[in-house]
């Protein structure tokens, strides 16, 4: 099994996540695509950990997981506040700071 | 023929003596074990249902189901058949795909966890030596937590996909309760991991040879017992399923086979958390002390441990049923406060203590003396504060005696309870006016006048 297979898979997942962030407008789905990108990065880290033969890749994957969890908490709180005040969760509608 | 996924994979770093036993089974031994565990779980569920009904009725001084089969033992089978043959209703507003999948997720997650529960030591099945456990990994207990996390999905999806309000609210409440008590459960495991030095179930059972962790780590055990009741949505923590509150909770709109799957999943979750308690805190398949050691050393070999395991499992299941028959239901905010504000801080404090003791033991200090000194200091502190409270307490003030205001309960024609300050004086006057209703309309209730009763 070539490590490259896992790398291609995570590159594909990352691309799909990035395209999702650009295409979708519902804030929660955009968020989910960001999570998809983070997961793809995790897969890359674990693959390289195994390829190099040391555990540091898994350590950073663990840290990425924790950071993603913290980010989800705050991000969802922001989305909930947005939805409460302006009744819409579309990222297009949050444009008050637009020049 | 060893299994093909060896080498680099999960079991590779098995250098604990117990983990090395796994991963070398012949495929048909593995099949036998899986099928037997599955069948055992189904039969034990049927047994638990009827056992629960009989035990609760015994506590409530009535008979319980006793028609179908000897002493009603086939009642749950009859119920299962009935459920299978019922009409399968899918509400119009339901999201059909998720509505069907939700009970499957719930039941599957419940079954999965039993793959790593140790039921016995090494025995020989048809000539092959194998351990009475489907498999084991270095992170087995975490795997059980993961599978119960997966089962929670079934509940939240069932609540949402039913397309109606009571299931949604019940499902969300159920899920919030389960993830809160899952935290308390996980924290109670941490102390066990610290003592046993491993997360694999067979290692933990082996480490309890001298002293069961239910005694050595009593606070963790108590926290786990409370958390496991909350995790499985059982009384007294079953408000999300209470009929008076949320009709049926997340399974309101379910009927027939899907409802049976939820029911099955709930009972199997009950059995799984009980089995986990037995494994982590009650010594697993090891016999209780006098039997395993001096009296009968052979109690921990061959097939006998299955008996001890089943006995302990049955005891814990009875505790569940006992709680159901005895305790009233707690209010949702009350038991969420219990889970977050009491169980989790107590667990964390206890883990700090256990970690300190374990660190000191690793450094080579004599832990027993330190623990005794600390316990003595704590007891002295408690004694001093209690004495101080008693000395400081004010004597109770005399309450003013209420004057007896004469008060005729039947004055308005209807019986009325006394207001605060009024003391009902028993007067022996007869009821002055008969109770009657207006006679307009087609119905008239006739009441007989009450006079002095003399008989």
């Amino acid at each position: 099994m070539n490590p490259a297979n896992y790398l291609y898979l995570s590159a594909l997942l990352f691309t799909i996540g990035a395209a999702g962030v650009l295409m979708r407008r519902n804030a929660i789905i955009v968020f989910m695509c960001v999570e998809l990108m983070l997961n793809a990065a995790n897969l890359t880290f674990v693959t390289f950990a195994r390829q190099h033969g040391n555990l540091e890749g898994q350590i950073i994957a663990l840290f990425v997981m924790v950071v993603a969890a913290a980010e989800v908490v705050v991000g969802l709180a922001i989305i909930v506040t947005m939805q409460r005040t302006r009744r819409s969760a579309s990222v297009d509608d949050a444009h008050l700071l637009k020049y | 023929m060893s299994s093909s996924v060896s080498g680099d994979l999960i079991l590779a770093d098995a250098d604990g003596t117990h983990l090395a036993q796994f991963g070398h089974d012949v495929w048909w031994i593995m099949l036998i074990k899986v099928v037997v565990i599955f069948a055992f779980l189904m039969v034990f569920t049927l047994f638990t249902i009827i056992f629960e009904r009989r035990a609760v009725s015994w506590m409530q001084q009535r008979v319980g189901p006793n028609r179908v089969g000897p002493q009603g033992s086939l009642q749950s089978l009859a119920d299962g058949v009935k459920l299978m043959l019922k009409e399968d209703i899918v509400p119009k507003a339901a999201d059909k795909a998720i509505f069907v999948i939700a009970p499957v997720i719930s039941a599957t997650g419940a079954f999965l966890a039993f793959a790593v529960i140790p039921i016995g030591p090494e025995v020989s099945i048809f000539g092959e030596r194998t351990v009475l456990q489907v498999t084991d990994t270095p992170v087995a207990v975490l795997f059980i937590l993961a599978s119960s996390s997966a089962a929670i999905y079934g509940i939240v999806l069932a609540g949402w996909s039913s397309g109606s309000t009571y299931p949604l609210l019940g499902g969300l409440r159920s899920t919030a309760q389960m993830i809160s008590y899952e935290l308390a459960m996980s924290l109670s495991f941490v102390a066990v991991f610290l003592y046993a030095g491993s997360m694999s179930t067979s290692e933990i059972v082996a480490a309890q040879e001298d002293l069961w962790y239910g005694i050595a780590l009593l606070p963790s055990f108590v926290v786990y017992l409370i958390a496991m009741v909350g995790e499985t949505n059982r009384p007294p923590f079953d408000l999300p399923e209470a009929e008076g509150e949320l009709v049926g909770g997340f399974h309101t709109e379910y009927s027939s086979i899907k409802f049976a799957l939820f029911f099955l999943g709930e009972y199997i979750a009950l059995i799984t958390v009980s089995a986990l308690a037995v494994t982590l805190f009650l010594g697993g398949w090891m016999a209780p002390w006098p039997l395993g050691g001096p009296i009968w050393p052979g109690a921990n070999e061959n097939w006998f441990p299955v008996l001890w395991f089943l006995g302990k499992l049955l005891t814990l299941v009875f505790v569940f049923i006992w709680l159901r028959g005895t305790l009233p239901r707690m209010r949702y905010d009350q038991f969420m406060a219990l889970g977050w504000k009491i169980l989790i801080p107590v667990s964390i404090g206890w883990i700090l203590l256990v970690a300190t003791i374990q660190a000191l033991r690793n450094e080579g200090y004599e832990v027993r003396n330190i623990v005794l000194v600390a316990a003595g200091v704590l007891a002295a502190l408690l004694l001093v504060t209690w004495v101080w409270e008693v000395v400081r307490a004010k004597p109770p003030e005399d309450e003013p005696v209420a004057e007896a205001v004469e008060f005729d309960p039947f004055a308005g024609g209807y019986p009325v309870p006394p207001m605060p300050g009024q003391v009902p004086v028993l007067v022996s006057t007869p009821v002055s006016t008969p109770v009657s209703f207006s006679t307009s309309g087609q119905h008239r209730v006739e009441m007989v006048e009450r006079g002095d009763t003399d008989a």
Binding site: M23, G53, A77, V80 | -
Partner: protein
Amino acid sequence: MGNTSNGEAVLFWILAPITVLAALAVVGSKKAVHSALWMAMVMVNLAMFFAVQSAPFLAVAQVVVYTGAVMILFLFVLMLIGVDSSDSLVETIRGQRIAAMLAGIGFGVLMIAGIGNASVDDFNGLTAANSAQGGNVEGLAALIFTRYVFAFEAIGALLITAALGAMVLAHREEIGEKLNQKALSIQRFKDGGIVTPLPAPGVYARHNAVDMPALLPDGTASELSVSPVLRARGDVLEPDDSVAAEASQRAQLGKGSSS
């Protein structure tokens, strides 16, 4: 030294297409809840990939933390707050969808070409690293608590900050004092009105739906037993049918009088 095996290849080639399809479904689902479920599937698949790559702790942590907590948080927000699942069809930026898709495809081609150009050595395997400390978990612990303890403390502080931030953002200022059960009960009695539970709708031999009122002892219909919404809409039935039938039965049986 390649110490991978056939089982891993089978697992990979079965799960990888499923993962990619699930990821496409995350992006392309109409309903947000379906997106969340496909995302959970992607995460479980990734957990299996982690397990097969000698990272058992990371695999179960992925299921417990990501699938079991983060995605459930997503589902909670979707279900409780009722975030509208459909995107509006009006595009704010014209041609954004097409441009995004093209950009995505281009980016993907770029990355895959980059990986294809790089030469990656074969797997060294983690057998040595995992058994250095007596297990994968022990190995991770040795690294976290010695070399990376500062980062570990930092993410602990990060989690606390995140929890505080969520509490601040979701906090609703209480204007009045919050009444407990006893105070609410006292208030209900002070206000007068009806303090008992309302009577249930009538149950008769031929009709027991919620639009049939119950009868008071004097034979009149009780207004409180049907919903005020139905009353306002005029959807309440008269119980005359059942009352008349009962009265005629009584007359026939000769029991009591009905005047």
